[in-house]
Assembly symmetry: C3
Homo-oligomer: 445 residues x 3
């Protein structure tokens, strides 16, 4: 370079500034936060692909609202209740992030933690898809991020929390994020009831396939990327090279083995290779390893992943048996996977796990923790959803559901140019809807 | 680990090497650059979803070309005119990045800045979609990235620029990136004219909805991610932890409140929950906070975001009124949002903003600046310092005038040469088949509500058919 | 902040901890690894868009399996054979990453290297799309990641490898990753044979366009982002700011010029602007610069990119001539681009490349190497050092032979066993329904131009129907 001529920006510092952990972690939180925020896109695509085309705009808006509304709620009280000092049960400062206005390090931490909160609340939108009122869903998001989720975080992740002080292992939120979201999803699906046509007149389940497997795959693969950032970021200290690398490998193994185990199981049971179930299995494996990713050895990650995958088939079957309609299998993935992961840490944690110590105390703490987290979330979810159902707000009208929410509620059909396509053109006059919701039903039957 | 056996790569260094700001910033620029480059994909999807299926290949190619051509133009003169020393008005070295060949730090900086340039020029492709000649669009990209945008950057962001030296606040480019791109988009949409069928015989607007709301949402959510990198990276110093974290929170709040404000407003006005307008509102909120993200307090980000969202509705309405056809509402999002944001910084910047220079009395009767904000203050406006607001207004005015002038020249010349717009035949048939012979969804071709129409219409997707849907 | 009240998490450390290279590189590997993993999504979308809708679920599952199975294989022996010490030819420790269990730094390195391996094996799924048995594809992935690819990595990238010790230049894997994957893709496409309907009765090629150009563009743009991480990460040392920035610029230029060169060439030859070929050209340019991204100057990146783009047209033509059916043109992109890049490094590397070892006379008559590049030089070729070019040619030859030999064995065995290809019935019906019972777009099923055909055709998407479109 001609040393004289071009004093280009930015100037290199005269005396080198060395990077300390505060700077490093700040940047680490921010980049992780962005990659975890990609998971919002992942969930939006996963859910859009898994619903019928007549409801694709609706579910996408729910995901967008989940992000926007969740950000506001987390700002208002989410961070304060989670990490704002306080007692063993609940935080009590830093509401509206007021005290942190000029503390960039903590603001960056809040940004990253916000993304975890958004992940938790978006799980509901899957299990309640295609039939839930938009306003009700907003109330559920507010309930979860404003109050329920932050309290769980305070228990399990903050220095003051009673579970945290007992040594509860939940590194990246198998229980905090996923079981919490999964419980809300379970209660929501229960209270809102199954979609019209999901169960036949004699109660037999009918297939209502989503409108695009490619979108589902796209969402799931994006979530796969996001989960790495999710787990790696969770220790909140990017200087711990030893732990970070370990997390990357355990997360890799758990997701991969979940997919392979389930693919083979489905092939054996149904004589077909199922993409959609394999994708859900990947997610279940990733959810399960969140808890122990920093503490279990590689081989245990294999076991936890495979087990989380296989429980998916069982839990999903149970949901159908109990006539709980979960279009995304979100309950099986997040609640089922979360429970498996939380217990798995109790068994396989290298220092405290049952397998390594013969000591049941850690397993007991894990069981107590997951029980309390689930009870807490279920109780509040029940209250809110019950109130909404009483108010008649929880579910859309039958007319809206049959016509498809995109046109009825939003007047924005998802694929306007592909409207009105029918196998039999004679049907056209009879059916004013864009996409025949019941038509695809006989396909997988 | 068995200490003897496996000397696996890479070896751990014997004496620890400590990381200095140069290394740290280099890596920071590169990762940010990649995430900002994701915004090219975001724009491509947003625009592809917002046009009709018969033009989806065309708009996607325009976005691809925007990236490829923009990279070349920025290499040729973009970086040199922006940051290559020079006078107050324009840079004058580092063309072709020649002087930087072995300065990885500055190369990484150029890489990151390139992505900002690409963002600026891609805005036009939205407002001019479905009717603009591909070659004309290339000329517009060349004009913008080769010359017009770098000069604006030199003014506002380089150490030598006259606006920069006056203390102009535009941290991440509400005016530099978005208003510049928005002005070019406005002139382009004006000069190329509305799409066939956009305005009825009596001038009433007709709806020509895009072919996939899911694609639009996908693009917008990806842009949402990209905007965080966009704003965080803009200070060009990743060691400033205090500022970076603040930016993340203000950006978060602005986008979120824009979406919520607009959703409620649209619900109140049109009795429906609109996904597409909400997504545009998010983008407008993010565009507006670019300027002040590092300097305004949290509550001001809320105001700026909500205001940027609501102006979207007004600006969009004005566009229709003046018969400017903007399929993406890119002008309302980027130009409107950019102006709101630039003015917002003048009002709310914590040190210099008008609001904080007002004097008040506290509970003891002492006269204090509102800057030391406390609930105990008695709000009596004594005097405010309008100078920062003046600088902001001057800056946005100069940036817009400069860009509009050059855009007018180029688009006018192209129109005169008859190159600006595709033929009517091409527009009706759809550009994908006519210009590219690559229909976007070949297997979904020829679908009609009425099979009898088939013989009459050779096009793949009936462009006019969807029109009556939202009517 | 009220200093007393809120002891928020995480606490700021009392004495500042300074970041050393080990911490920095660990985080660098992990973030790069994630961005490179995004390329798995990129390939899935690229391939899904480029096949017909009746096989979209199938190709997406193959990509998902590629990731899951590849992770397991790399864990089992991939990393061990690559970097586990050993002799010049093959590594011999760290299987199952056993020795590394508590070495986070190396685990992070393995995570990042794993993503390179996944990229290599996913190339096959493109060239063999729409007709290959899922189980066969799994065997091919296992073959490649369990054994073939790690050995190539050991040769070229580990400290012990024979090519590495000879000074072979392949910074980010033009040959290691892309030519390896491309050779397997070539052998696979050869052995599995063309799709039904790809070549007419008299051998003329027929067009079988994929079902969505938008998906293809989305995949390619995502890969474009991923390639930056791919190349930047490859040096395995994020403290080398000088090199990292240089890589970003050369990668930028190569991809951009490849796209522009090919777009113009296709416009000249076919009178149309092709999106799909332009996207493949971008990828070919990015593949080619992998090898020399750290060592060639900017202008050489331009040449390598343009050349890699143009060879795409030739290679693609040759594939058709030899009746090799490659639905994605993966062979032309990855094998062709890989070979161009490997040779390009031999020509243009700043220290060792043939071009820079030529001796010239400067204006004073002094004999100087062209390396000290200056416009005043008189260009008289005196002598050039062909040794680096020779090493490059030897390297690419050995890598290709090795991969082709093993691929031939495995695919031949699978064909003999009758497992390689799906039945004709499955192929005509579409794999999504036949193998997976998960049609990709259930609600868009049964659409026909002529409703009378419905009774006759039980398939969801008429595979042959789109054929006459581009004819």
């Amino acid at each position: 370079m001609s040393s004289s001529a071009s004093p280009t920006l930015p100037p290199e510092p005269a005396a080198p500034v060395y990077i300390n952990a505060l700077m490093f972690n700040t940047v680490g939180y921010l980049f992780s936060g962005m990659l975890i925020f990609l998971m919002q896109l992942g969930f939006a695509l996963l859910e859009a692909g898994a619903v019928r085309a007549a409801n694709a705009t609706n579910i996408t808006l729910k995901n967008t609202l989940n992000a926007a509304l969740g950000m506001v709620c987390y700002w208002v009280s989410g961070f304060g209740l989670s990490y704002g000092g306080g007692n063993k049960f609940i935080g009590s400062s830093a509401f509206f992030l007021l005290d942190l206005e000029s503390l960039g390090f903590t603001e960056a931490f809040a940004f990253c933690q916000l993304m975890f909160a958004l992940t938790s609340s978006t799980i509901m939108s899957g299990s309640m898809a295609e039939r839930t009122n938009l306003v009700s869903y907003c109330f559920a998001v507010i309930m979860l991020i404003l109050f329920v989720y932050p309290v769980v975080v305070h228990w399990c992740w903050s220095d003051w929390g009673w579970l945290s002080q007992m040594g509860y292992i939940d590194h990246a939120g198998s229980s905090v994020v996923h079981a919490t979201g999964g419980c809300a999803a379970l209660l929501g699906a229960l209270m809102v009831g199954p979609r019209i046509g999901r169960f036949g007149s004699s109660g037999q389940p009918m297939s209502l396939p989503g409108h695009s497997t490619v979108l589902v795959a796209q969402g799931a693969l994006l979530l796969w990327v996001g989960f790495f950032a999710f787990n790696i970021c969770s220790g909140n200290d990017f200087t711990q090279a030893t732990i970070l690398g370990h997390i990357a490998i355990t997360t890799t193994l758990s997701g991969a083995f979940a997919a392979l185990a389930v693919l083979l199981a489905v092939k054996a049971m149904q004589r077909r290779w199922s993409l959609l179930i394999a994708l859900n299995a990947v997610l279940a494996g990733l959810v399960a390893i969140c808890s122990g990713c920093a503490t279990v050895p590689h081989w245990a990650a294999v076991i936890i992943g495979a087990f989380a995958g296989l429980q998916l088939l069982l839990t999903s079957h149970l949901m159908v048996r109990f006539k709980i309609d979960d279009p995304l299998d979100a309950i099986a993935v997040h609640l089922g996977g979360g429970i498996v992961g939380t217990i798995g840490s109790g068994l396989f944690a290298r220092e405290e796990g049952l397998v390594f110590t013969g000591d049941f105390s850690q397993l007991g703490i894990q069981l107590l923790g997951i029980l309390c987290v689930c009870s807490w979330t279920c109780a509040w979810s029940f209250l809110v959803f019950f109130a909404l159902r009483r108010a008649g707000m929880l579910r859309v009208s039958e007319k809206a559901e049959l016509e498809g929410l995109d046109v009825y509620t939003h007047r924005e059909p998802s694929y306007p140019e592909f409207m009105g396509m029918r196998r039999d053109p004679d049907e056209l006059a009879m059916r004013p809807t864009l996409f025949p919701l019941a038509e695809a039903r006989d396909l997988n039957a």
